[in-house]
């Protein structure tokens, strides 16, 4: 496990950079499922790992760094607003579910993905002033479960490997 504070901060920095790269790769490769707004959420793998291997505080910092920097580099005001709302809601849900201790990484990740989509949808509904956007609720909910389980399986495997190696 992480020993010193310095080591933790350095790891958090590495994870934030990795999450950002994942965000970037994802923006380059629209994993064309044909549904706008649905993406794999690769960066969430990193956030979930940070949540499990470090602490909620560090994971939160990693998440905020990723959102802030990728908004500055690749986005604009609007995408930042979407990212912040989705990110905060998703993080809050994941941290709470993890705290209950009843769920595995996969369940936590799935719920996080769903609530990430819900947060963004709420911004979209407010920004567009059209409740019609809520028609999208079902699509994003189901897509969130699927992508959340996929990223959850990835995060769970990474955690298992790092556990075996004693990192």
């Amino acid at each position: 496990m992480m020993r010193s504070r310095t080591e933790r901060i350095a790891s958090a920095g590495l994870l934030a950079a990795l999450a950002m790269i994942f965000s970037y790769i994802e923006s380059l490769l629209p994993l064309g499922i044909g549904i706008p707004g649905v993406k794999l959420g690769l960066a969430n793998i990193v956030i979930v790992i940070a949540l499990y291997k470090m602490s909620a505080g560090y994971a939160f910092a990693v998440n905020m760094c990723r959102i802030g920097v990728s908004a500055l580099l690749f986005g604009n005001m609007y995408s930042a607003l979407y990212a912040v709302c989705g990110g905060l809601l998703s993080f809050a849900v994941m941290a709470l579910l993890k705290k209950t201790g009843r769920f595995t990484i996969i369940g936590v990740s799935a719920a996080g993905a769903v609530f990430h989509n819900m947060g963004q949808l709420a911004v979209a509904a407010l920004a567009a002033h059209t409740p019609q956007v809520l028609y999208y609720f079902a699509v994003l909910d189901i897509a969130g479960v699927i992508t959340g389980v996929i990223t959850g399986v990835c995060a769970s495997s990474v955690c298992a490997i790092s556990e075996r190696r004693g990192v």
Binding site: F103, T104, Q132, F137, A138
Partner: protein, 125 residues
Amino acid sequence: MKNKSLNKADILLITVLLAIGVLSICIMHAASAEQDAKYVCVSVNGSLSARYMLSDDVTETFNTPAGYNTIIIRGGQVCVIDSDCKNHDCIKAGPISRCGEMLLCLPHRLCIEITGGDGYDAVSY
């Protein structure tokens, strides 16, 4: 990690999330069917004189101060089939079926408009 695969709580959580999705699809479906109801509004001289469902089967004659118009609503369409106006533009213009479309008889100051429904062809996000 002690528990690598899904446990019962996970499965319950995922099921609930999926159920919410499926439920909201059903709700949206019901709501959109209701919203799709279209109405035929007939107004004379700017004031509404009758309103029918577009899905109704109606034949009705409207007597305006300037003359009469007979309209027929059938099969989700509405048209004017008879009128004593001069040019019969109202008859030639029909039938109409889409939201926002209108039939006008200017000499009689009669207007037939289809309202309701959401009126969009598609919504792009």
